[in-house]
């Protein structure tokens, strides 16, 4: 079955079983490898991405639900390499990743979080991001989310001026 949607601003059509998890379509049909497989059961968050601005765990979202929608993955989070999304900038500043495998999922979750809660506390971050990291980057993730929120605020102030 043909299914069309936009991914990182680009229109695509894929011919696939509509029940195929969006994760596999993004990774294997569209060759965007930044979105990761960790558990396949919506438990770890490695596959997190945005569909029409909402956060989803794409391993458990059949591709048919993306039809005619806008999908954003880690590759499309920043406008370009030089103007990083506040989350990615903060991740660079805090030197967050270790193995790096869980990080795209965390960053997608963080991007959504700072939209919902512009000035998150440690507790907000702890309660709202349930992704798994085995390398133990947790302390840096919490720091980086707060930093990202600050960067976002200051960007906003700048663009308002």
């Amino acid at each position: 079955m043909n299914i069309s949607f936009k991914i990182n601003g680009k229109a695509v059509t894929v011919d696939t079983d509509p029940m195929t998890p969006l994760l596999w379509v993004v990774r294997d049909e569209l060759s965007l490898k930044g979105t990761k497989y960790g558990c396949g059961k919506a438990l770890c968050g490695a596959c997190s991405l945005h569909v029409d601005g909402e956060l989803y765990r794409s391993c458990s979202l059949p591709v048919k639900y993306a039809e005619n929608k806008n999908v954003t993955t880690i590759e499309g989070l920043s406008e370009n390499e030089n103007e990083l999304h506040p989350v990615q900038q903060a991740w660079m500043d805090i030197n967050v990743p270790q193995c790096g495998y869980c990080q795209p999922g965390f960053m997608m979750a963080a991007a959504k979080l700072i939209e919902e809660i512009p000035e998150p506390t440690d507790q907000d971050i702890k309660e709202n991001i349930s992704n798994i990291c085995r390398c133990g980057t947790h302390p840096r993730i919490i720091k980086a989310v707060k930093k990202a929120a600050q960067l976002k605020q200051s960007q906003k102030v700048q663009s308002d001026e």
């Binding site: 696939t16 079983d17 029940m19 195929t20 998890p21 596999w24 990774r27 294997d28 049909e29 060759s31 490898k33 930044g34 979105t35 990761k36 497989y37 960790g38 558990c39 396949g40 059961k41 438990l43 770890c44 490695a46 993955t73 880690i74 590759e75 989070l77 920043s78 390499e81 990083l84 990615q88 991740w91 660079m92 030197n95 967050v96 990743p97 270790q98 193995c99 790096g100 495998y101 869980c102 990080q103 795209p104 960053m107 971050i125 702890k126 309660e127 991001i129 349930s130 992704n131 798994i132 990291c133 085995r134 390398c135 133990g136 980057t137 947790h138 302390p139 840096r140 993730i141 919490i142």
Partner: protein, 726 residues
């Protein structure tokens, strides 16, 4: 403590013949030209020293290519050790830049493959990469710099002294040439004697805070892991391994699987079944449709495992015997303090499941994967497809976590067989269920500790016996090696001995043949042994009515350098963590320390009950890994060990039920999340001029320190991992 200002002991030097031979550049007179002629970029390589320390495992059998100078004057560093998050690429780049006289940004580190880089026989692990290659990398880099200088001297026809190497450029007065230019203009290379290495006092990079060199790709989402690799016409396959402990494949009904949309073929090999499909989803659906029957000799239960893994049931090897611990402890008139401890089976749960791409042709096989041990993979693949190992190339990638999982357990042989049968490239990937249920687990363990105290509350005699399954010996040395050694004291024995200056002390490791494949897990024996020993020490301190830190310091007085370093960090930690200030209401405090591979570490932990649940709220951690190459790299490893320590001690365990493992995915194997992140302070001390490992030793104090803090808070002693919290 200050870094000693001693120059590295001078190596015999690369003899010209040996150096060139080891680089693989010269085999007979004309090959140097041939080599350069073949490669347009005129790569050249600096090879390896013949008399290197063994522990790195990097050997000089095959062409050993370390560095390639690229046309744009960047330097490709083909690392024999793999990056799995531990920051080794960053540390290596810093060491190389130091002697190459280039900006660190000029160095690009990539994982070496089995044919294009230095051969690594030992694999990446044991916290040994930096330690074992600290001198060698700099020697190779310095030698290459000198080769470039000599070539530049010849080019300009001036004495060598007139040539300086700076920032990737060769300078003669005001004239300059890039490294790449000189490579282009050089036909005949000369090799120097091994040059003197820089003294620590003139290090430019070593010891400075550096962001990871793999940071940007990992933030942008374009770091490539094995599972991300694609090659043209690649098919996808999933493998079903035995579903029961000791299961032997009896019958396969694959009709439904074969008729699943997208499935191409079902392959049955000796004890596994693979479903090959044109995409992953189809492969997974096909696997779900398999109907398999397994012959099972015994249906194992957790109780059987617990009864088996028990002191007294295995072959014993003595690790330590000082004084006369046995006779003191046996004396009937003396009160013996006796405790037992247990740890559960654990899984690695690294976030990237194993994925292997195999492309097997008539006379060549390419395997792309993320492995901690290229040489083991090569051997296994060679056997599986009956091809000489010279025809097999293993390419490594970034690893999405290792922790020991990728040392022995891989699906390369299966992938190679499937590709060989199909005559097509295939990616074989493990789903999370297979990662969780198909070994090699951290073995469970049972510990018996006994001690006798003197009247003044000091330890008169102590003994520790640990019973556990195999962690690596059987896998590395085979059954025969195992029989010779008796027990896996090399891996399992980490942390089993007593560092303390007890007059009578004794430690044993007992090998238990477990029915489940078990292996190495971050820290190997350190994790269970550290828990048992340091909890027992805490119990002794309480018995002696002594502050737990004071109690330890009392027993650290000898001149042994490690004992001195341990004493030093404990004192610093005591003062920095506020140990001697009264704990606020509702806060429990615990302390523990551990030594592993010449790195000493200690932690002071605070726990509180929050909403009815005990949580670690503060960790002050101190580590002395000798020379620190990259402080932020060390900090990351310590943070990782803190979080993994919290996770493994508070939550993690997998158990056996009706012949199967209870944890099949993350929901059945609870782990630390952001909720469990405490306030963390990491303190680093450099008690030696040489670096030792940081990937594992910092985990040593975590479990016992937390357990001791829980006791302080609740009065309930934790003698089992994971903790039994109500």
């Amino acid at each position: 403590m200050s870094k000693e200002e001693t120059p590295e002991k001078k190596k015999k030097g690369f003899s010209r013949r040996k150096f060139l031979k080891n680089t693989g550049i010269v085999i007979g007179g004309g090959s140097l030209l041939l080599y350069f002629g073949r490669h347009k970029l005129r790569t050249f390589a600096a090879g390896f020293i013949a008399d290197m320390d063994l522990p790195s495992g990097v050997s000089n059998f095959d062409p050993d290519f370390w560095f390639e100078i690229m046309e744009d004057n960047t330097i490709l560093f083909k690392s024999p050790k793999v990056e799995m998050g531990q920051g080794i690429f960053t540390g290596f780049a810093m060491l190389a830049a130091e002697e190459l006289e280039v900006a660190i940004e000029q160095i690009k580190v990539v994982p070496g493959s089995s044919v294009n880089s230095a051969n690594d026989m030992a694999g990446t692990g044991g916290s040994g990469s930096t330690h074992s290659l600290y001198v060698s990398i700099r020697e190779v880099a310095a030698t290459m710099r000198e080769m470039l200088r000599m070539a530049a001297a010849d080019y300009w026809k001036v004495p060598l002294e007139d040539i300086r190497a700076e920032n990737g450029m060769l300078l003669k007065g005001s004239e300059s040439m890039s490294y790449a230019d000189i490579v282009k203009n050089t036909e005949q290379w000369k090799t120097p004697k091994t040059p003197d290495l820089k003294l620590a006092s003139s290090f430019k990079y070593v010891g400075t805070e550096r962001k990871r060199i793999d940071l940007k790709p990992k933030v942008m989402g374009d770091a490539i892991f094995a599972i991300d690799t694609e090659i043209p016409d690649m098919l996808y396959a999933v493998v079903q391994y035995p579903e029961y402990i000791g299961g032997k494949l009896k019958s396969v009904d694959s009709s439904e699987a074969e008729s699943t949309n997208g499935v191409i073929r079902v392959i049955r090999e000796d004890n596994w079944v693979a479903v090959v499909a044109k995409n992953r989803y189809a492969a997974e659906m096909g696997k779900k449709a398999l109907k398999l029957e397994w012959d099972v000799e015994k249906t194992w239960q957790q109780q059987d495992i617990d009864e088996l893994v028990k002191v007294g049931n295995g072959r014993t090897v003595k690790l330590q015997d000082k004084g006369s611990a046995s006779s003191v402890i046996k004396d009937d008139d003396i009160e013996v303090i006796h405790q037992e401890y247990r740890t559960s089976l654990g899984v690695h749960a690294q976030l990237e499941p194993n994925g292997v791409i195999a492309d097997v042709k008539e006379d060549k096989a390419v395997i792309i994967m993320g492995t901690q041990a290229i040489s083991f993979v090569k051997r296994a693949v060679s056997k599986a497809i009956n091809m000489s190992s010279g025809k097999i190339e293993i390419r490594n990638s970034f690893l999405g976590g290792g922790f020991g999982r990728r040392y022995f357990k891989f699906n390369a042989p299966e992938a190679a067989r499937i590709s060989q049968i199909l005559g097509k490239p295939v990616q074989v990937f493990r789903d999370r269920e297979s990662e969780f249920t198909d070994g090699y687990f951290r073995p469970s363990s049972h510990h018996e500790l006994k001690a006798v105290l003197n009247d003044d509350g000091t330890v008169k005699a102590i003994s520790h016996t640990q019973a556990t399954g195999d962690m690596g010996i059987k896998l590395a040395a085979g059954k025969m090696g195992m029989n010779i050694m008796g027990a896996d004291f090399i891996s399992a024995g980490h942390g089993a001995k007593f560092l303390y200056d007890f007059p009578n002390k004794k430690a044993y490791v007992e090998h238990i043949d477990m029915p489940i494949p078990t292996g190495i897990w971050r820290g190997v024996g350190m994790f269970p042994n550290g828990f048992a020993v340091e909890t027992f020490i805490d119990e002794l301190a309480r018995k002696a009515n002594t502050d737990p830190i004071e109690f330890r310091l009392k027993h650290l007085y000898s001149d042994d350098p490690i004992v001195k370093r341990m004493k030093n960090i404990i004192e610093i930690l005591r003062d920095r963590s506020g140990w001697n200030t009264p704990a606020p209401e509702g806060v429990g405090r615990g302390f523990a320390c551990g030594e592993d591979r010449k790195t000493v570490a200690a932690a002071a932990v605070e726990v509180q009950k929050i909403d009815g649940q005990i949580r670690v709220t503060k960790v002050t951690h101190i580590v002395d890994p000798g020379l620190v190459i990259n402080p932020d790299g060390v900090r990351q490893q310590v943070e990782g060990c803190i979080m993994m320590g919290i996770s493994a001690s508070m939550y993690e365990g997998t158990y056996v039920k009706d012949g199967q493992m209870t944890a099949t995915n993350y929901h059945q194997y609870p782990m630390a999340s952001l909720m469990d992140t405490p306030e963390i302070e990491v303190i680093m001390v450099e008690g030696s001029a040489k670096p030792s490992g940081v990937g594992e030793p910092p985990i040593a104090p975590m479990a016992p320190a937390i357990g001791n803090a829980i006791f302080d808070l609740t009065g309930e002693r934790q003698r089992k991992l994971p903790f039994q919290l109500t």
